[in-house]
Amino acid sequence: MATVTVPKRSALAEALAGARHAADTGHGVLSWIATVDHKRIGMLYGISAFLLFLVGGLEALLIRTQLIVPESGVLTSDQYNRLFTMHGVTMVFMVVMPLSAAFFNLLVPLMIGARDVAFPRLNAFSYWSFLGGAIFLNASFFTRDIFSGELGAPDAGWFGYAPLSLPDFTPGHGMDFYALGLQIMGLSSLAGGLNFAVTILNMRAPGMTLFRMPVFVWMTLVTSFLIIFAMPVIAVALFELTFDRLFNANFFNTEAGGNPILWQHMFWLFGHPEVYILILPAFGIISEILPTFSRKPLFGYPFVVFSGIAIGFMSWGVWVHHMYTTGLGTIANSAFGISTILIGVPTGIKIFNWMGTMFGGVIRLRVPMMFAIGAVATFTIGGLSGITHSMVPSDYQQQDSYYVVAHFHYVLFGGAIFALFGGIFYWAPKFTARMFNETLGHVQFWLMMIGFNLTFFPMHISGLLGMPRRIYTYSDGMGWDLWNLMSSIGAFTIAASILVFIANYVYTFVMKRGREAGDDPWDARTLEWSLPSPVPHYNFAEIPQVHSLDDFWHRKYREDAEGNVLPVVAGGAVEVAHGGDGGGHEEAGHGIHLPSPSYFPLIAALGLPVMATGLIYDYAIVPVGAALLVVGLYGWALEPATEED
């Protein structure tokens, strides 16, 4: 339904249209570069994020190697500082956020019964600008002489406190890359957040009311809201930092009367909602896996949903808990202390409902379930140490100690990464038609679980023994040796578990030894399992009519008044779900107009890192980037979303 065809096409436009056609075949590299298919974009997100996880993990391993014994000289303090900064930034912005985005992309349209997201090309733009930003930021490593051990990466910590982040104290370009790189990735997230908010509100299949949506979709919606309102704040903070660094502005310049507390407010005003942006998708994944493998519906669905909304809401009122020791005063600390403590209530509701879901079920301890259970358990520990943080007087001792490091790895690794791995094992069959090897999966889980606790549990103790974070070395006699040794051994155990995962991947997909999955290998509950595996590019041959929560389950099973389950006559419902029988797929696929591939999102996204590079090195490059951006945007706006054939 293109509105207008631009009358005459230039040669360039012809060439582009040609390339677009080539991309439309569905094969080859071009078709991936120009793709606007949410499933492919999701996979691109997932693969990129996993590779960046290896990068961030490698950085962590270097950190742990340095700290394995007191006074070790593996890294210089300069290298160490850049590594932990990049480790934090990578894991938060380039691993957990994009991995969550991968799941949004892969699942949301399928779960709500849509053929794509509301703005497929904006979606592609999100991905490419994320990738551009991530490569740009990581490229900073190479801006000094890396082969003689000089890293060029940012070095003011992941929250880049001013005035340390100003050029007087962190000379070089590292923090410029930080400010601009995060800016680009923030824009990418904002675009994604807007896209998914609209998609979820607007693109639901008939009958898919809000309260029939899977919890994962709900959590995506809440996360999108958080992104939409949090990203502009960090964008402004980063702009202010950029202006201070590149154009001598005074936002944080104390010589001119600037107030460093402003940065802290802005960062944490974004930063705390951000940590829930990191965890809520994981909560969503857990809420999908637990019911499937307990073979029961989610206990207290509306309460799980509302507690998620409550968490999103409350996350705006607690940011000062990162600033207890800055001397904001008794009133601020008391008010934010109480609000922080209370955030345990909605989180607890989720935990208890998950336990309620498992209670009395028929629990299949398959790999995804193991990861989900593991995530609940470890997250609980992290959440509870969060409560000890929120006690203001007690936090005076813990702030900026390893106790904090323990807390946030328990929630981030123990909560988010575990759940995300669970999600990978759970949904991979849907998109690849193959099952990961179960044994290797269990080996990975146990290695990871043991390694994780071995790494991060001792950090509680070293923290309480007075070990500050972000120190590149410590002297012996502080009583920290044993705990650090344990942490380091644990870190390498985690690395081993990741290698097992890579091996599993190779075994399953490269050697193609993974078992064929079939359409519904887990006897699952939500709509995506009603589709063939792998999911056809048009998703639903026929947009489904939704009648209830867990619609797909109810096509397979009937439930009597007492809640006893009676199977529906075998097969019937499932076939209908495919929109007809076998032969129907191909034909059905033909009549459907899907958005055509487009190169313009990529071109526009490419403009951003180019502009950023120009800002740092040579203003002459800026117009080049700007031109790319403008060309990309205009091409995008003028090109019909669907090429008529």
């Binding site: 309260f211 029961k296 309460f303 109480i338 007087p393 007690s394 001792q397 920290w480």
Partner: protein, 311 residues
């Protein structure tokens, strides 16, 4: 096409579950679980490992290490350790409850037989929901209210007779200045990275930095307070010893005041706790708490010696 019962959103449906039945059956289930566990000796090693870990943790807390936050030597640190425990004990109980619950449930209701039919479909229970909303809220408020009292306590201004020490943080050392001890040249005595304080008297540390943010932390005496950049509006020499509580104005940043009190003599090590650059790890200090007589002697010695200089 046959379809399942519509279980879409309806509040009344959530009340439909019979609470009594649920409660009784769950009680029965728990006892059964315990029985299963008792029979299953294989789980014993797991328990032992957990106990060993706990022992390790406890031993860690009692080790005499220089910056142990539980080996408290002053009332501030005492109060803060207490505050931690107020939160920690309930947290540990909840942790054991939740983790234990999850493991027990997973074991008790594990699928025994691949052909096992799906269980009874329970969608929720509103009374339970209300219970596990209210109970944590009450518990949290119960620890929150004493917390506010403690914040006010620790956040009060230093006592009138508090001993004032100006602390200037700079990359990567601590400069201590004793405005109450003026030498013949009219300058306060100064020390670097080591400070002497009188035992049993509140000491008001007036914290400011000349470059980036640092954080002043002597764990055995008390928690940290950030050291913000602060260019005094009134240049230093003329700045009179500040009246307690009133922070001298500074351009940008602010001056923070932290009061601490040592209960017994000793040397307590401390360290910068806010990442401040290359040698953040080595921005350490030692606070010597001396009995009043020893302290006076130290001051006299310092005043007699050449003004300035280290310790």
């Amino acid at each position: 096409m046959p379809r399942g019962r519509n279980v879409g959103y309806s509040l009344t449906a959530w009340w439909g579950v019979d609470l009594h039945a649920a409660a009784i059956s769950s009680l029965a289930n728990v006892t059964q679980t315990l029985r299963v566990l008792r029979r299953n000796r294989a789980r014993l090693p797991l328990l032992l490992v957990l106990l060993a870990l706990l022992a390790l943790v406890l031993s860690g807390c009692t080790t005499d290490t220089p910056q142990n936050t539980f080996d408290t030597k002053g009332e501030v640190a005492d109060a803060q350790a207490k505050s931690f425990l107020i939160a920690m004990w309930p947290a540990i109980v909840i942790m054991i409850g939740v983790l234990g619950g999850i493991v027990l449930i997973a074991l008790r209701w594990r699928e025994r037989d691949p052909n096992q039919p799906p269980p009874k479909q329970v969608h929720g229970n509103t009374r339970l929901e209300i219970a596990w909303t209210i109970a944590p809220a009450v518990l949290l408020l119960a620890i929150g209210v004493p917390m506010v009292a403690q914040i006010a306590d620790l956040g009060r201004e230093p006592a009138d007779d508090a001993y004032i020490i100006n602390v200037v943080g700079q990359r990567y050392s601590w400069l201590f200045e004793y405005p109450e001890e003026i030498d013949s040249e009219g300058k306060p005595i100064q020390t670097v990275n080591e400070a002497h304080i009188p035992v049993g008297r509140e000491v008001s540390f007036q914290l400011r930095s000349v470059d980036v943010i640092h954080s002043f932390w002597v764990p055995k005496l008390g928690g940290k307070r950030d050291v913000f950049p602060c260019n005094l509006v009134t240049p230093e020499p003329e700045a009179p010893p500040t009246p307690h509580g009133e922070r001298p104005p500074c351009d940008g940043g602010q001056m923070n005041i932290l009061w601490l009190k040592a209960d017994e003599p000793g040397s307590f090590s401390g360290q910068c706790a806010e990442y401040c650059g290359l040698e953040h790890a080595r921005m350490t200090m030692t606070i010597h708490a001396d009995a009043q007589a020893d302290f006076d002697a130290w001051v006299k010695e310092k005043l007699a010696g050449s003004s300035g200089g280290g310790n």
